[in-house]
């Protein structure tokens, strides 16, 4: 079977090369038949790479340890789901998975070629070039079907214990779907630039694809955080690790694009900016992959060091040069149709939003690469850890929150300061009142520590955003409710259905602020650690933990030991929790299974950290983490908002003429009404 796998990969490469070359010649010669063969070859690439991926999964399920990849990432006792996940658990397999996702995106793109055959033909050719690069990698640099030399071991080394969690089965595919998804808008953008595509149709197609990629990337990032929180046992969810940062970089530029693209659609502005934002997003996705896999920066998440780094450097350089060449050649095509008229306008809020997102991306990139730069300049490596990233990025995030609050209140072109003040006064008063109450009640003492001050500001700005978005929904909902003789909630539902993009976007913003409130809780995290024998007690916040017992278990894949802890609050037992420690037999590595009791206000997070080597007594570490629930709730809202924004708009139904109306209103009038309802609120 491994030989068939290798053959299918070579076949996939040959087909990709053909799809690229034939696509290129078809464009040069304007040959539709050749273009069609290129399209079909692109579809066939999907079949070949699917076969290769299937064969690797088959090898994992059949314990074929003659394949080095399976030997290093699986073992006989590994549960089925993790054998499947082994596909993306190591360097070679994950690159193959990347190829497969790229081929799958390519399949969708090529099947939908009738959207615009010429544009899709160009985009498909560019996508084939990217596919060639990744297939070269898996064929010649990181071969997933490489065979074991010498005697074949009876059992495999097993999967890294940290990866044996349900979240890890879905987190990498989501992240890769996001990374790879950014290839599609890149291909469309470059295609539009190459062919000097007239009009903005390409940007509509690109925006939708970018949203899909952004959605997956967002889900991947949150799932990664959730995994880090529930599995790594350090009580946090984001460590500013280089690999985490690598996922954040394209997310930040992708977010900037999703905002600034509106200026191109509505006002024909920022065409160069948008083009380069999409190019940057793709380049950063590739750069992130390079960081993770080349060993340039040290990370707990990184794959083993390998020789694939130079491949990525050449590919990045070639991609950048291609983008720059076509930009210089065709830049006249990207001239703005309108100019920005006022600093107080929706356009300038998008501009500042973009600047802040890009500065944040720069700060993350800079902090990630500074250890390398420092070593190069001074000969000494330094660590750039959470304190640096927090100090630099929190103020930027607060500015962004302020802009998120201001944005919906600003009209396109110009807004008078009087109008802004009028719309801003009530939300600002609500935010200030909430801040004052929090301080007066003693919940937050901003003078004690800068982190408390940041928390207070985050909560106040989040309330401000919620108030401005709430007023937008209510205002628009009331207009429709008046027209339909319905209530305001139905009006808001109708409003959202009629302009899914705008109101879906607001729901995403709500999700962001809910998440930010969760982030604000970090300042109040506390933890304690104690040896806990039978009947011993430990206290954290309002909770008292009483050790009832310890127990053991033995399974084919691992042996484990649990602590059984009764949890009391206010003198009453509220639950029993079971923090666990596992010892994985194949890899010989220990791992912790966190016990977490999550409520809206706080998480009680318990880790069984091991035994004191001197006296053999078990040690329990307890964390009390306020507001973590809000982070995951916000992530769900972001997901819902993005799905809403991806849905097509519903057309407004015309009101049936009543007897007194005389005659039905003209369709144009109804359309204007619909538009007015959609636009109610400042556009």
């Amino acid at each position: 079977m491994p030989q068939i796998g290798s053959f299918t990969l070579l076949l996939g490469l040959a087909l990709s090369v053909y799809a690229f070359a034939a696509g290129l010649f078809a464009i040069v010669r304007n040959d539709d038949r050749l273009s069609e063969t290129a399209r079909r070859a692109g579809i066939a690439v999907f079949l070949a790479v699917t076969a290769a991926s299937g064969i690797l999964v088959y090898a994992a399920f059949h314990n074929d340890f003659s394949v080095a990849y399976i030997l290093h990432h699986s073992n006989r006792a590994l549960p089925g789901a993790y054998k499947f996940a082994a596909l993306w658990s190591g360097q070679e397999g994950s690159l193959l998975f990347w190829c497969w996702l790229l081929a799958a995106y390519g399949l969708v793109l090529r099947l939908r070629h009738k959207v615009d055959t010429r544009l899709v033909g160009h985009a498909s050719m560019i996508m084939s070039a990217v596919q060639v690069f990744f297939l070269v990698l898996v064929n010649f640099a990181a071969h997933p079907f490489a065979l074991v030399t010498g005697a074949i071991p009876a059992d495999g080394n097993g999967l890294n214990p940290l990866l044996q969690y349900p979240e890890m089965v879905i987190h990498p595919p989501m992240l890769y779907l996001g990374y790879v998804g950014m290839t599609v808008p890149f291909c469309f953008a470059l295609a539009a630039l190459i062919m000097k595509y007239p009009g903005e149709k390409w940007i509509h197609i690109t925006r939708r694809w970018t949203m899909v990629g952004w959605l997956f990337l967002t889900c991947g990032i949150f799932l990664g955080s959730y995994w880090a929180y529930r599995v790594l046992g350090w009580g946090g969810w984001w460590g500013w690790d280089p690999v985490e940062n690598a996922s954040l970089l394209p997310w930040l530029t992708g977010t900037a694009f999703l905002h600034s693209v509106m200026m191109q659609e509505k006002r024909g502005m920022m065409k160069v900016w948008n083009m380069w934002l999409i190019f940057s997003t793709f380049l950063l996705a590739i750069f992130g992959t390079f960081l993770t896999r080349s060993g340039v920066v040290s990370s707990v998440h990184a794959f083993a060091e390998s020789n694939i780094g130079p491949y990525f450097v050449y590919f990045l350089a070639l991609t950048f040069a291609t983008c720059m060449y076509f930009y210089v050649r065709n830049r006249s095509h990207l001239e703005s149709e309108h100019k920005l008229e006022s600093l107080i306008s929706r356009e300038s809020s998008f501009l500042f939003n973009n600047v802040l997102l890009l500065v944040a991306a720069f700060a993350v990139l800079w902090g990630t690469l500074f250890p390398v730069l420092s070593e190069w300049v001074t000969g000494h490596k330094v660590t750039v850890g959470p304190p640096f990233f927090n100090k630099v990025n929190i103020p930027i995030a607060l500015f962004l929150l302020l802009l998120t609050a201001l944005g919906p209140l600003l009209a396109w072109r110009k807004t008078s300061t009087e109008s802004l003040r009028k719309n801003f006064a009530i939300p600002a008063a609500i935010a200030l009142a909430v801040g004052a109450v929090l301080v007066a009640m003693g919940y937050i003492k901003p003078w004690v520590d800068m982190s408390y001050f940041y928390s207070l500001m985050t909560i106040m700005l989040s309330v401000l955003v919620a108030a401005t978005i709430g007023s937008e929904f209510i205002r628009g909902g009331l207009v429709i409710a008046r027209h339909n003789d319905s209530n305001v909630f139905f009006g808001m539902y109708q409003l959202t259905r009629r302009n899914t993009r705008r109101y879906g976007g607001y729901v995403v913003h709500l999700g962001v602020i809910v998440t930010m409130i969760g982030f604000a809780g970090v300042a109040f995290y506390q933890n304690t650690e104690q040896e806990l024998g039978f009947g011993d007690k430990m206290a954290i916040g309002p909770y008292t933990l009483v050790c009832r017992s310890y127990t053991q278990d033995d399974k084919p894949n691992f042996s484990s030991e649990w602590a059984i802890l009764d949890i009391y609050k206010g003198g009453k037992q509220i639950t029993t929790m079971y923090p666990e420690q596992r010892f994985y037999k194949a890899s010989g590595q220990p791992a912790t299974i966190v016990a977490n009791r999550s409520t809206v206000m706080e998480d009680l997070y318990l880790v069984y950290t091991g035994k004191n080597p001197e006296n053999g007594r078990p040690i329990i570490k307890a964390h009390l983490n306020p507001l973590v629930w809000w982070i995951w709730a916000g992530a769900h809202l972001i997901l819902v908002g993005t799905i809403i924004a991806l849905m097509p708009n519903m057309q407004a139904k015309r009101k049936k003429p009543s007897a007194g109306d005389g005659q039905a209103r003209a369709p144009a009038e109804a359309k204007a009404e619909n538009q007015a309802a959609v636009e109610a609120g400042g556009d």
Partner: protein, 162 residues
């Protein structure tokens, strides 16, 4: 309405002023908070790549040892700088979780601020340059003051409201 707005303005300014004053006069730092702060300024050296107080290695003896050293130094009455310098002396500069503000390390802190200010300045300059140019499209607002535009928008909404 004007009086209410004035009161609101004064109240908001007062609140901001009080917050700033309270922030400047930060209160004392108990030992627990000091341990927490110092522990977050150091990296665990066991190879986990995590902040000292957040090392998640099961039964990590390195982080345990480092914590003991820190507690000992605190009990001796060493200042924060002395404690951190002691760790740098023993484990090397990578033990600090963030670059210092000396030598080349200063560049790490300065660059994001420089880029931030440069980007904001560039945006303001670009907007001003754009504003000075004559609008290209005949349908643009030209010299209509924004107050008037807002009034037109309000009327348009009223007249086309459902």
């Amino acid at each position: 309405m004007k009086i209410a707005r004035k009161i609101f303005h004064r109240w908001a300014m007062g609140l901001l002023l009080v917050s700033a004053l309270l922030l400047m006069g930060a209160s004392g730092d108990p030992q627990g908070q000091r341990f927490d702060r110092l522990g977050h300024n150091l990296m665990c050296q066991c190879g986990c790549g995590q902040v000292l107080l957040e090392c998640n290695h099961v039964g990590c003896s390195t982080s345990e040892q480092m914590r003991k050293e820190m507690k000992l130094a605190m009990a001796r009455g060493d200042s924060d700088d002395v404690i951190l310098a002691g760790f740098v002396g023993k484990y090397g500069p990578t033990v600090l979780s963030a670059p210092t503000t000396t030598g080349f390390n200063r560049v790490a802190w300065i660059m994001p601020v420089v880029i931030f200010l440069a980007a904001l300045g560039a945006v303001v300059l670009v907007v001003r340059a754009w504003k000075k140019r004559k609008p290209k499209d005949p349908g643009s607002s030209g010299g209509t003051p924004p107050e008037e535009l807002d009034e037109f928008r309000r009327r348009a909404r009223e007249e086309t409201a459902l």
